[in-house]
């Protein structure tokens, strides 16, 4: 029987698709790697998102700002009214970024991080949320209803409130300030150490991974060909990183122990962190607002 000639050759198609996919992936990968290395470089010197400015928001006690973040998030999720998260973003968070004099950095983060994340969530929920109701338009088999759009819009806004208030917090609060304030209030020192040192050591680990990759490549390790071979190359890269880190942990433990880390003395702090009556008032107001929102939610539903 003669073989049928086909217009569509699956084998070729897969190869072409795979090539295209790999090209896109490598483009994304290079761009992402370049951006990551830039961020790491910037973080190397600063090691935090904190921007040093003199503003009312900077001067607030870290716990007050943390309460503010949690309060805004809780209110935006609990509120019985549809427009609450939108309103919080527009009339609280954005003006606060001006009060904190970090509006430029805030908008940059908003455009690059918060907006893409919120839009992604919006589209996913608008298309795939099975909420019945008035169909506005159809794409293929997906019904887009008015209800699903509204639902998605609010959820995207809630996420935007959450991420943007947290961004504002990170921009105006130095991590060591936060930790020494929380330690003063009774957070165990070991816990604070774990949080802060993780933040600091991640970029270091990343730099070390880069060094190991360069070292192994110079000895002929294949890190750029097919996916399977690259998977195979992971061993010689991860091994030194993990075992090296284990040795490091021991030495670091000795080093901080030598500096009295587990001392039973009451710890003191280099920085004096102010906690004014204004701070306390703001915290109480926020707690009260959250409680009121919760009660309203329970009462109205």
């Amino acid at each position: 029987m003669e073989k049928e000639t086909r217009l569509f050759e699956p084998g070729l198609f897969y190869v072409q698709a795979a090539t295209l996919f790999r090209r896109i992936a490598s483009l994304i990968h290079t761009a992402a790697a370049r951006r990551a290395s830039l961020i790491i470089h910037a973080m190397h010197e600063r090691l935090s998102f904190h921007i040093k400015r003199n503003s009312a928001l900077h001067r607030l006690n870290p716990l007050t700002k943390l309460t503010l973040v949690l309060g805004l998030v809780l209110i935006s999720f609990l509120s019985p009214w549809y427009w609450t998260p939108h309103a919080l973003l527009l009339i609280v968070i954005i003006p606060l970024s001006f009060v904190g004099k970090v509006n430029r950095e805030f908008f940059r983060a908003f455009l690059r991080l918060i907006l893409p994340a919120a839009s992604f969530l919006f589209f996913m929920q608008a298309f795939f949320q099975p909420v019945g109701g008035t169909v506005i338009f159809k794409i293929w088999f997906l019904d887009i209803t008015k209800e699903s759009l509204l639902f998605a819009f609010r959820n995207a806004m809630r996420i935007a409130v959450m991420v943007s208030s947290f961004t504002l917090f990170l921009l105006t609060t130095h991590p060591s300030e936060l930790m020494s304030d929380l330690t003063r209030r009774g957070l165990p020192g070991q816990f604070a150490y774990v949080i802060i040192s993780t933040l600091q050591i991640l970029p270091q680990m990343q730099a070390k991974a880069q060094t190991i990759i360069a070292a192994q490549r110079s000895r002929g390790l294949d890190t750029q060909s097919s996916f399977l071979r690259r998977m195979g190359s992971l061993g010689p890269l991860v091994g030194p990183l993990v075992f090296g880190s284990l040795v490091e942990v021991e030495e670091r433990a000795i080093a901080i122990e030598a500096r009295g880390f587990t001392s039973t003395q009451i710890k003191t702090s280099l920085y004096e962190i102010s906690d004014t009556s204004l701070d306390r008032t703001i915290r109480w107001i926020l707690i009260l607002l959250v409680i009121i929102t919760l009660l309203l939610k329970l009462w109205l539903s």
């Binding site: 190397h44 010197e45 600063r46 090691l47 935090s48 130095h174 991590p175 060591s176 930790m179 020192g189 604070a192 150490y193 802060i196 040192s197 600091q200 050591i201 970029p203 270091q204 490091e248 030495e251 670091r252 433990a253 000795i254 080093a255 901080i256 122990e257 030598a258 500096r259 009295g260 880390f261 587990t262 001392s263 039973t264 003395q265 009451i266 710890k267 003191t268 702090s269 280099l270 004096e272």
Partner: protein, 286 residues
Amino acid sequence: MAIVNLQDVTYKYPLTDSPALQNINLQVQEGEFVAVVGPNGAGKSTLCYTLAGFVPHFFKGELTGIVEILGKESHNSTLSEWVLNVGLAFQNPFNQISGAKYTVFEELAFGLENIGIPRDEMKTRVLDAMKLTGISDLAERSPYSLSGGQQQRVALTSILVMQPKVLVLDEPTSQMDPIGTREVFGVVRRMAERGMTVILVEHKVEWIAQFADRVIALKDGQIFLDGTPAEVLTSPLLQENGFGVSRYTSAARKAKAIGLWKKEELPVTLEEAVEGFSRANAGRVV
């Protein structure tokens, strides 16, 4: 009475058969600057850990004999009490950075915060210590952005700032250039003159000869030689047993064999070598 007193100390790391330290007897007086030399695996770092209390409180294993500092025995004390009297800085500067602080100034204050020093005294102590080790200009830098040599200075300062009675240093200048090494030795010497007792592990014998009061040579976990720098560092036993020897000593030893070195004792430093050779040639016409 000796401030550091080790009697018949033998220590075995867990899961090992041979002891890392064997019958160590060592008495150090207050304000004495003792250098420890020895080939790799001789037990130098283990000796440091034992003095600083990490053996037996951090590394388990078998410790016998008496480890006594300021009249207190280490096994009767907790590690956090022990470190108030004995400071330890070791070789790898990167792992000595706490990772919990964002600037060098904060990093230096870390130990003082832990032991509850009041804020004003903390600041004065950090400023003084930075001036002493010459790192005042690094105060606002991130400790991670520094070079290896700078990080080593920060590591040393972070211990000095705690003002221990006994300072134990395990190769604190391994990543420094000659100028940095000289400065650090100068600082350590000054601390010893102020009454701090210093025990320093170091390979750079020429510097030891200039700055230390006493040298101990360790081999296979045992004290092999113990004496003044001139006695120990020029001993013919050193080279035969795989110790590092100053190039001036080995040059003069060869010169002596062919009659070009006239003095009885051999030199360790450049200055001693120059002086000895010029005396040997004094009669000749230049």
